[in-house]
Each structure stands twice: as structure tokens, then as C-alpha cells.
């Protein structure tokens, strides 16, 4: 006997619980996103900065987000990309740290271990073709050595003395290379803050998804310290000389 098929009107959306008979689809666009993270090595350890904005598309939707997170006592994590995926990463890491704490074996997870763990998670997710839509910067002090690494949603990793994600990769990285490379053990905290602020200022001027409220963080032998939000001094006098762009 022929089966009866009822064709739904084209205006009726297929409920998600019905089998689709089509290819598996996944969310392929980030929703709420954070922009650049800037980080580099200096004399006492690692400096990192990120602004407090989480954008919804081009809208400055959430203006009090923290995109820097301490992981254990001597590691810092900075995030670019989807904030929801970042929250997932945060919870996973908190769970991992709790399990480590419960072991009570006098061992601490070092920066390298945490970096490897995050890298593996990112690569694992891209291999499932369901990546976490983030770039991460992992920095810290491991066995007295400064460690600074990068991971993106492909699971690509590299370690360097200076790292900048997102737009920062284009705008901040050249500045960092000029001032930091080869001088990682010389730069004082004062100079490091100046370099960081200069990078963040350039990013605020030129990156339309950035925000003039940011946090700075450092990892030193004393541990991880994340600052309260602060603003940079900017000068927009040049704006009136700009011609074009609809003005």
C-alpha cells in the first residue's frame, strides 16, 4: 500500500526534534564575541590585556565582561571569540582544577600542562567539526620559566615572546615585536604597562569592536593578578580632518 505523505506548507518550520534527513548542521557563527587579547613576556613574567566588551554582532552589547581568567596559581588565560564557548571552557577548567585539588598530592598543574590541555580540547573539537569559536592566549610561569602560547579554533598552536589575537594580530603585534622581541628579560613592569597601553590604545582607535574599558593582568613569581577595569587616555582631535567616509 502506498503511504500517505502530507506536505507541510512552506511557511511551517520543521520542528527540530523531527529527523531532518539532511546533513548534520552546526552553529557556524559566533554570537557574542570578544575582540583582541594582547600578551607578552617581560622581566618579571607575563603581561596580558583585554577589553571588557562582548559584542553582539557590531553592537556593543555587554560592557562589563572579563575575558581574562586565572587558571590555578601561576597561569593566566585570555580569550578572543565567542563568550559562550569561553564559559564552557571556564567550567571545564574549573572542574579540572577541582579534581586536581582533590588529589591532594602536592602537585600543581603547570602552565605548560594547562596550555597542552586547552590545545587538545581545541583540536579535539575542530576534529569533531564542532569547534569552540575562540582564540586563547595562555601565559604563566612554569618551573621558573616564562611560558606564553596561543591556540585557535583549528587547534593551531605556537609559542612566542609576544602574542596578539584577532585584530591585535594585525595592529598590536608589530608594535610588540618592535619593543619586546629580544628584550623579554629587560622590560620593567612600568615599561611593560606602557607598551601594553600603547597597543590597546591603537586597537581602540582602529578596531570597531573594541572598547575603552579594559583589564590588565600579570603573572609573576608572586602569582596571578588581574586589575580592575580602567580606561586609556585618547585624543580624537584628528577626527575633524578626516574627509570622506560619509562625513
Amino acid at each position: 500500500m502506498d503511504s500517505i505523505t502530507i506536505t507541510l506548507p512552506h511557511t511551517v518550520q520543521r520542528p527540530t526534534e523531527m529527523p531532518s534527513h539532511g546533513p548534520t548542521t552546526r552553529i557556524s557563527q559566533p554570537m557574542v564575541t570578544g575582540t583582541s587579547v594582547v600578551a607578552f613576556k617581560y622581566k618579571d613574567g607575563i603581561m596580558m590585556a583585554a577589553d571588557c566588551l562582548a559584542s553582539y554582532g557590531s553592537m556593543a552589547r555587554f560592557r562589563d565582561e572579563n575575558r581574562l581568567m586565572p587558571v590555578g596559581n601561576s597561569t593566566l588565560l585570555g580569550m578572543t571569540g565567542d563568550t559562550g564557548d569561553f564559559q564552557h571552557m571556564k567550567h571545564t577548567l574549573e572542574d579540572l582544577l577541582t579534581r586536581e585539588y582533590d588529589m591532594d598530592d602536592g602537585q600543581n598543574l603547570g602552565t605548560r600542562s594547562i596550555y597542552r590541555c586547552i590545545s587538545n580540547m581545541m583540536y579535539g573539537r575542530r576534529t569533531k567539526v564542532d569547534p569552540l569559536w575562540n582564540s586563547y592566549v595562555v601565559g604563566g610561569i612554569d618551573n621558573g620559566e616564562k611560558v606564553l602560547g596561543f591556540v585557535d579554533y583549528y587547534g593551531t598552536t605556537y609559542q612566542a615572546a609576544t602574542i596578539a589575537t584577532g585584530f591585535g594580530g594585525h595592529l598590536a603585534q608589530p608594535i610588540l615585536r618592535k619593543y619586546v622581541e629580544g628584550r623579554e628579560d629587560e622590560i620593567t613592569e612600568e615599561e611593560a604597562i606602557k607598551i601594553l597601553d600603547d597597543c590597546m590604545r591603537v586597537l581602540y582607535y582602529r578596531d570597531a569592536r573594541s572598547f575603552n574599558k579594559l583589564r590588565r593582568a600579570k603573572v609573576t613569581a608572586a602569582g596571578v593578578e588581574i586589575s580592575e577595569p580602567y580606561a586609556l587616555e585618547t585624543n580624537w582631535d584628528f577626527a575633524e580632518f578626516i574627509v570622506g567616509y560619509g562625513s
Binding site: H91, E94, D95, T98, R99, Y101, D102, D104
Partner: protein, 257 residues
């Protein structure tokens, strides 16, 4: 053999005619063979102390811990079978983690106590399983302040200001009752806990033992952790001195006779 239990003790799913479940009582006997574990809830926190009996000098110090941590803020001290204990601690950790995953908050004491109580009770219902030979003491500080719970092999769980399980529980309880728990500081509670463990330790039966001391309080940042070495040494010094003084008193009494 025939006199005890008289056939009603073969399964946890059988009551005796006078309403007892012998298998559960046997599990409690297993607890009573273990080294003493105590918990004290005081003004600013909770302390746990355990008399870990060592059967060999070859054991590495601090190995085979009997006070463990679940989910950072919960201390678990136990008396009874260590293999059962480890299983229950794993369960406690899983429950704490699951709760945190759902609510993004630390599991409150009465909820973890209830969940563990229910879990342990389920092992008193079926002939295919054996009850846990463990009394579990849970110590934590939650939104309502310091909390101390003890769960018996029957699954019965209650909140306490001070509790004890294992070999020396009677003597320990008598000592705990003498303390002014509501007005004791955490550091003093540690000293008293150490003193009680040293006092109830029976050197004629078990020669070697190791004291374990842990706390959850403001000084430990709300986390459960074994106490730092200097605090530990201070407590042991106090315990040894207090027990020496007691021995002297007894000797003097002997002299009088």
C-alpha cells in the same frame, strides 16, 4: 555460629522477627574496628581528626589518607573499610561536581549529606549488595556557616556539633561533650581534636598510628585542606603534653592507693 543472627543475617533484604537488619549492624561492627575519626564544629569552622592505624613501619608517611577532599570545600573523614571509603569519596566528588555543573554554586552541606545518605541507604535494600562498612563524616562551610554531618552504614545522616566514629568513639564522645564547642576557636578545636585522638589511642592494641588533621575555615580560605605543618606540630605538642599530664595524675592516684 548458629546462635548469632539465627538465619536472619544472611541478607540485607531480610528483617529479623524483632525488626532488625543484621547485615547493617555487622557493617557497623566493621566501622567499630577502625581507628577513631572525629569532627568538631566550632564558631569559625570545622575540624576533622583521624587516628590512622598503621600496620607497618614500611608505609610512607602521609600515604593512605583517611581524610579526603571532595569539591574543594568539603572534607570527608571516615572510619571503616578504606576501599569502601574511596568509593564513597568518589561519589561525593561526583555529586559535588554535578551540583556545581547545574547551579554554578558549591553544594550545601545538607544536600550533599542527604544525597550521600540516600546513596548509602540504597545499599541496605537489596540482597545482591553489601552495605558500606563506613561511617562518613562530612565537614564544610556553606552559606549557613560551618556544617558537620555524619552518615552511618544504615544511611542515617544527622548534623552534629561534634561527632566520633570508630574504635574510640565512646571515649571520644565523652571528651567532646566536655568541650564548649560554640565558643572554641578553630585553632583551639584542632588542639582539642588532636588531644582526643591521642587520648583514645590504645597503645596496647595498636602500636603505630599517624594523626591526620584537617580544617575548613576562614584561615583555609573556605577550602578543605590538611592543616599546615606548623599548626599540626602545635596541636600535637598540646596533645602530647595534655596526655602526659593525665598520665602523671593517674600515677599520683596510684601512689595514693
Amino acid at each position: 555460629m548458629t546462635s548469632i543472627g539465627t538465619g536472619y543475617d544472611l541478607s540485607v533484604s531480610t528483617y529479623s522477627p524483632d525488626g532488625r537488619v543484621f547485615q547493617v549492624e555487622y557493617a557497623e561492627k566493621a566501622v567499630d574496628n577502625s581507628g577513631t575519626a572525629i569532627g568538631l564544629r566550632v564558631k569559625g569552622g570545622v575540624v576533622l581528626a583521624v587516628e590512622k592505624i598503621k600496620h607497618s613501619r614500611l608505609l610512607v608517611p602521609h600515604s593512605n589518607r583517611r581524610i579526603m577532599t571532595a569539591g574543594r570545600h568539603i572534607g570527608v573523614a571516615s572510619a571503616g573499610w578504606m576501599s569502601d571509603t574511596r568509593h564513597l569519596v568518589k561519589r561525593t566528588r561526583d555529586e559535588a561536581s554535578h551540583y556545581h555543573g547545574t547551579y554554578k554554586a558549591n553544594i550545601p552541606a545538607k544536600i550533599i549529606a542527604e544525597r550521600m545518605g540516600m546513596y548509602i541507604q540504597a545499599y541496605t535494600l537489596y540482597s545482591s549488595v553489601r552495605p558500606f562498612g563506613v561511617s562518613t563524616i562530612l565537614a564544610t562551610v556553606d552559606v549557613d556557616g560551618p556544617q558537620l554531618y555524619m552518615i552511618e552504614p544504615s544511611g542515617q545522616y544527622m548534623g552534629y556539633r561534634g561527632c566520633a566514629a570508630g574504635k574510640g568513639k565512646q571515649a571520644a564522645k565523652t571528651e567532646i561533650e566536655k568541650l564548649d564547642l560554640d565558643n572554641l576557636s578553630v585553632r583551639d578545636a584542632l588542639k582539642e581534636a588532636a588531644r582526643i585522638i591521642y587520648a583514645v589511642h590504645d597503645e596496647t592494641k595498636d602500636k603505630l598510628f599517624e594523626l591526620e588533621l584537617s580544617w575548613v575555615c576562614a584561615e583555609s580560605n573556605g577550602l578543605h585542606t590538611h592543616v599546615p605543618q606548623d599548626v599540626f606540630d602545635e596541636a600535637v605538642e598540646y596533645a602530647e603534653k595534655a596526655n602526659d599530664d593525665d598520665d602523671d595524675d593517674e600515677e599520683m592516684e596510684d601512689d595514693d592507693l
